[in-house]
Amino acid sequence: MNTVTELIKNLADQHGRQRNNLLPILQGVVEQEKYLSEFSMKAIAKELDMSAAEVFGTATFYSFLEHKKMGRYIIRICKTISCSMKGSNQVLLAIEDMLKISLGETTTDGTFSILQTNCLGFCHQAPAMLINNEVYTDLTPEKVREILSMYINKIKEGAPNEN
């Protein structure tokens, strides 16, 4: 059996198969897979006995439930006012420059994706970003380069590549 299928079955066992268990299941798949594929959404629909279109419609409502293939590390830079005032755009440019991809893209090795997001709730420590679920604040171009280098080194040192 496909591992995603297993994952979805396990999640459904854990959370339940009612409609109100849909979000935790979607989140569980995204936690592991970083995005919801057609295959995943169909499997979830089947598991919860609902239409695949409804799963798709629900998932696409939520910014963190991506439905396009994403990198292992999703960088989400806050673009809302406080962060923008404190230079989130320069931080974004530094990231794009370092990873050689643009906003919305994923590195060819499938490691990083860059996205923008709305207010992360760290306006007093702006600019802020998330890498997966980790928050980084008071960013500068220099600081963000250090953070990314740390991730890149971590991968080089052989953290297992899930993709």
């Binding site: 169909k42 239409s51 279109a53 798709f56």
Partner: protein
């Protein structure tokens, strides 16, 4: 609980039931409030905001459709604030809408256009958003065209697909400015679980969902002198067509319709009701055969109930959602496809026409029939059995294009050979009709007596309840049907796919013990089909149903097996029901589609 409350609408006091919506209350005093997302068939959404009204003392306006009246409310439906807000909302909708009305298929029958006209939205101050959007048009389905640039996001189609049909092929996706009505991963309707029932079209206020029309193709065929163009008309068309031509709902126009079709230039005008009668012969015999296989032979490969197969929306539904249960379907083709197979064989032979030269057109209350005619299985005549399927609406368009003054038409009769029908064929157009027609014939085959209901009217299977049941006890059968003696034939009728789903689930779980079930995809059966005139509502469908049953009551023959042309076709061509030839031409197989 007696709970009347008093409210004032535009100064006039009115007493209403507690919980009545402001929209309903206003209607009671003859005040019309414009609506777009509201539809009588559907739950209240309250999202278009066109129906906003002012409650005196409240700063914000309230949506009349979604707000219950409260005692002492003073409501203004036409204050300056209301008028200005409504105008703004209409302007907003138009700014997001491809308002190229003259090039729109729904031009003249569009609720947004009508409101824009009423409110005289003349200027376009707001920025046109259409060029900024990545609107797409889905033309891949043989039945339905979905044009996102015409969509106003009222979600009537989504609610229809969910609440009436239980299909949920359409869903709301994304949010904010990106929010749209779409399918799973924005695929073409043809590539998802869409049943092509067309109910979304019937409930769409604009031109975002329309039937794929074949009007020009049919005009071309008619104009081609080398072609013999044959047309068949489904039972429900004759009670719906009038609505498109200025008649009240429920007007029966069979004779005028035949006359109009002749004026349009069809070479032969015949009746799907004929093959409806034929379906009864085949399906009724099939039912008896299955009953025998189960009850007498204990054949492990056959099970009950047997489900009807004349509604192509229902067929695609079961193929998608219950692919493991296709064996319960009758193998009978729908009347349209039986007709198609016979036109290019039986009719061609009898009239000595090369089937190659025949163009077979059908007029259907249905959009799923377009898909059905397009199925690769439907070539048993050696040709495509039905070349073009037009909806009732498309026929009305042709009649108008031809400049026919419908009122002045003489009543005419269908052409012979496949034009004769009985009342049993007519009632195919209504939910419960196939069941009633089948029982009239089957009971008589088995017992030699008429079905034991007054004037052949099997009232329990008629009506608008989503699921209806009837049991008919078989007593003193003829000798060859002795195994049925004393058996209660449990029958059920379901219309609207959401009800079909309930019945299917009850069958699978073993909660019910039916022998025979009629399934119709559309609410009300074919008379409420996705190809019928727009608007639709429970009241309109009720009127059409009354017309169908009146048509039946007025027929000299009301049992399929008495149709002289049916007797003739078995004698001259088919042999007997379920004969080899019947199997070849009139029966089919189904496809496991899944999700």
């Amino acid at each position: 609980m007696e709970s009347k409350i008093k409210i004032k609408i535009n100064g006039e006091t009115v007493e209403v039931e507690k919980g009545t919506s402001m929209l309903e209350a206003a209607k009671q005093v003859g005040v019309i409030i414009p609506t777009l997302c509201y539809h009588k068939d559907l739950c209240v959404a309250g999202n278009c905001r066109v129906c906003v009204i002012e409650v005196v003392g409240q700063k914000r306006l309230s949506p009349a459709c979604a707000t219950p009246c409260e005692d002492g409310f003073e409501i203004l439906t036409n204050s300056l604030k209301v008028r200005n807000s409504r105008k703004y909302i209409l302007e907003l909708l138009l700014s997001e809408h491809n308002a190229d009305c003259t090039r729109c298929y729904k031009n003249g029958n569009c609720e947004l256009q009508r409101l824009a006209s009423e409110y005289k939205i003349m200027e376009q101050d707001f920025i046109r958003l259409v060029p900024f959007k990545n609107y797409t048009i889905d033309k891949f389905s043989p039945s339905i065209i979905k044009d996102d640039s015409k969509c106003i996001r009222c979600q009537r189609c989504v609610r229809t697909c969910a609440e009436l049909q239980g299909v949920n092929a359409l869903a709301v996706a994304f949010k904010g400015d990106q929010m749209k009505i779409t399918t799973f991963f924005e695929k073409a309707l043809n590539d998802v679980i869409c049943t092509n029932c067309g109910q979304c079209i019937n409930h769409c206020p604009t031109g975002a969902l329309v039937e794929r029309n074949y009007i020009e193709e049919v005009w071309d065929a008619i104009a081609d002198k080398t072609k013999h163009v044959v047309v068949q008309t489904a039972p429900a068309v004759r009670v719906g067509l009038g609505e498109e031509l200025g008649f009240e709902p429920g007007t029966r126009l069979t004779g005028k319709m035949v006359s109009a079709l002749k004026h349009l230039g069809f070479d032969a005008v015949m009746d799907t009701d004929f093959t409806a009668d034929l379906t009864i012969m085949e399906e009724g015999t099939e039912l008896l055969t299955r009953l025998k296989k189960v009850l007498v032979d204990h054949d492990p490969n056959v099970r009950l109930p047997m489900a009807t197969s004349c509604s192509p929306g229902w067929i695609k539904f079961i193929e998608h959602l219950y692919p493991e249960h296709l064996d319960i379907l009758s193998s009978c083709k729908s009347p349209q496809q039986m007709f198609g197979a016979l036109v290019k064989t039986y009719y061609a032979q009898a009239r000595k026409i090369n089937p190659d030269k025949i163009i077979s057109v059908s007029i259907m209350p249905c959009t799923a029939k377009k898909f059905e005619a397009n199925r690769p299985e439907m070539h048993d005549s050696g040709y495509r059995d039905v070349d073009y399927v037009l909806t009732t609406r498309e026929l009305a368009i042709m009649i108008k294009q031809a400049g026919i003054d419908f009122n002045r038409l003489e009543d005419m009769h269908f052409d012979r050979l496949m034009g004769e029908s009985t009342g049993a064929g007519v009632i195919f157009g209504s939910t419960g009709g196939v069941m009633e027609a089948a029982l009239r014939t089957v009971y008589e085959i088995v017992t030699g007596r008429e079905v034991p209901f007054e004037k052949l009217n099997i009232i329990p299977v008629r009506g608008t309840e989503g699921i209806r049941e009837v049991s008919v006890k078989i007593e003193n059968p003829l000798k060859e049907w002795a195994f049925l003696d004393g058996i209660e034939l449990n029958c059920a009728v379901a219309h609207g796919l959401v009800n079909a789903k309930k019945v299917m689930n009850s069958i699978i779980s073993g909660q019910t013990n039916y022998h025979f079930v009629e399934f119709m995809a559309c609410p009300g059966g074919c008379l409420g089909g996705g190809g019928q005139p727009i608007p639709t509502s429970p009241e309109i469908r009720q009127k059409r149903a009354e017309a169908i049953y009146a048509e039946d009551a007025g027929m000299p023959l009301r049992k399929s097996h008495l149709n002289p042309e049916i007797i003739k076709i078995y004698k001259d061509f088919l042999g007997e029901p379920l004969s080899e030839k019947s199997h070849h031409l009139l029966h089919t197989k189904y496809v496991k589609r899944g999700m």
